[in-house]
Symmetry: C3
Subunit: 247 residues, 3 copies
């Protein structure tokens, strides 16, 4: 049994958006510490790991740990209907997840059927990253669109002082260099240079929920999975994405 | 022969939009009192009844009553081309409806072929309504979108103090309660409680032309057709919608 | 070998948009005087003639004339990625066109493969125009939309004092008259009246890149090709469009 409350329902909407961009359904784990979800996308190329601590909620009552399997697309649609200044109360009720949106003179309650979701392997890739890049989330979204004109893949290369992006396709090629401590790249911390190629569509799905103005941390090691992390308010969202290896 | 003028052509555009949302063609009746149109939608589930009094026009000259059959979709497209600050003169001319848009240095005249439209049964349903609900038009549009996530039908229930909305579908269910005298429900006048289920797409088409900021009046009786009315400036628009009866 | 620079990359984006609206690929001619391109659309109904003088560039170095065949759709997509406040350097490099977008801390370089483009007949129609009409580009865009409701063709008629537009279709007809020296028609200079009918889709593609607030010059002679010209900054863009002759 759990009952948790957020003063601003839009916050939960934005959190769920960051998960549904990769996976259609998932298993939320409600514990005394907070809510977490780990899932691989159906193709097993990427993984999302979400955690929202209990302090992010205005009321947080979880008497014992619970796993709640949810169709995330349906949940996301319901959350898209959030109005301004609505609070949200979530609780479990008869194998349903109840979402109650509350404003001064109205109450709107959706009940979503819980579903069986197989607990997926929750092991995060264990990579000894060699380069850590802090990049403007807004600029990273632009960079992904730049590369999308040319290719379905994008190469990242981090050196001590620069972050490079390249893409190659039939119509031409793109090369971009961004100095550290600039408008795009806030910081680079690289013990050695690292480069790898990634699927652009997954990258796009990963970064698109990053709140406007926030930074994204990218961890790289040559030809190894990358890790991308950012905050949505108090919540931590981390993604892993396998590199693309040309055969 | 008639010749009528509106100082703001956009007003007529908005009126026609409220009709074309339910019916493709219709018969305008021009009389000394004003312009009216009554029509059922092709499926006979809903009816629209429109009236715009002569005082809404800056010039209104109708020497004898006239019925003008018009393809409302074509009329609506022409009216969508209205610019800011244009006056509109409508008259009949050789079995055509002439629409002249006038600004200081330009005149633009469309002539629309009149068409044969069978005069449909003009009897409005005779229901002894038991509940009258005044609701914010803007909020009603939101409520319809809420329910559309879950179902193609929506149930309304008016009691003395509250207006309830519910929908049920495979993915879950929605229940919303709105207190009277609040942001959503301005007023309720119910001799007894009334509830009925309606088709959501028709409801959406009915409310969508309600001007921003205006109220909608909903009249209900359990399992009887509902009536929805609102004003567009001086014009009165009324809709009737048959209830959905589960078999 | 050439190397040219624009302080505002968006300027070149807008210029290319005015060409790609009619032709998919084209041959830019780089000379000491500036950059030009002439091309007929695939159906040979219309022609575009573009010229941008060297003074429009902040750096312009062309050591000998060069023809550069380019897929204009790909070029246009790349230019659509221009950010605010970016400079653009274009040069040739190994049979590729290099486009480098430069901001204080970032450089982004696309290389576009040059392509073989047959040099098309560059003869502009030789018409002894009888009427010259200066019209607001913004209003001409509206006029084209007005006519598009009724027909795929539009008739222009210029007299000494008025500019008339008409269209005829199954659903009705449109006639618009615009006085000279008004909001729509800035000026008319007509030795005799001139009228002709034109394809509306081509007309739309021709006018749509006219910058907001700019005037368009239309030259007419009865039943002869029209000429439409406007400026994009320092660049001159001219279009020719054959009249439509009913059989």
């Amino acid at each position: 049994m759990f009952e948790i409350k957020l003063d601003n329902a839009k916050y939960w909407r934005d959190c769920v958006a960051s998960i549904v961009s990769l996976v259609d359904e998932g298993l939320f784990n409600f514990t005394k510490e907070g809510i977490s979800l780990k899932a691989m996308d159906p193709s097993s190329i990427s993984m999302v790991s979400f955690f929202m601590p209990e302090k992010a909620f205005s009321k947080y009552s979880v008497d014992k740990s619970a796993n709640v399997g949810i169709n995330l697309e349906n949940l996301s649609k319901i959350l898209s209907r959030t109005r301004e200044n609505e609070a949200l109360v979530m609780k479990d009720s008869d194998n349903k997840l109840s979402l109650e949106f509350i404003s001064p003179s109205s109450r709107r309650r959706y009940k979503l059927q819980m579903i069986d979701v197989k607990k997926s392997v929750e092991k995060e890739p264990n990579v000894d990253f060699e380069a850590h890049v802090e990049i403007s989330g807004d600029q990273l979204k632009e960079i992904i669109k730049d590369a999308g004109l040319i290719s379905s893949y994008i190469a990242f290369k981090a050196t001590k002082d620069q972050f490079g992006v390249s893409a190659r396709g039939d119509s031409g090629e793109l090369e971009a260099l961004h100095d550290k401590n600039g408008e795009v790249i806030k910081k680079i911390d690289a013990s050695k240079s690292a480069d790898a190629v990634f699927n652009l569509e997954f990258m796009d799905n990963m970064v698109k929920s990053c709140p406007v103005g926030n930074s994204v941390l990218i961890d790289l090691k040559s030809n190894e999975p990358m890790k991308m992390t950012y905050k949505i308010g108090e919540a931590d969202i981390a993604y892993f994405l396998a590199p693309y290896m040309e055969e």
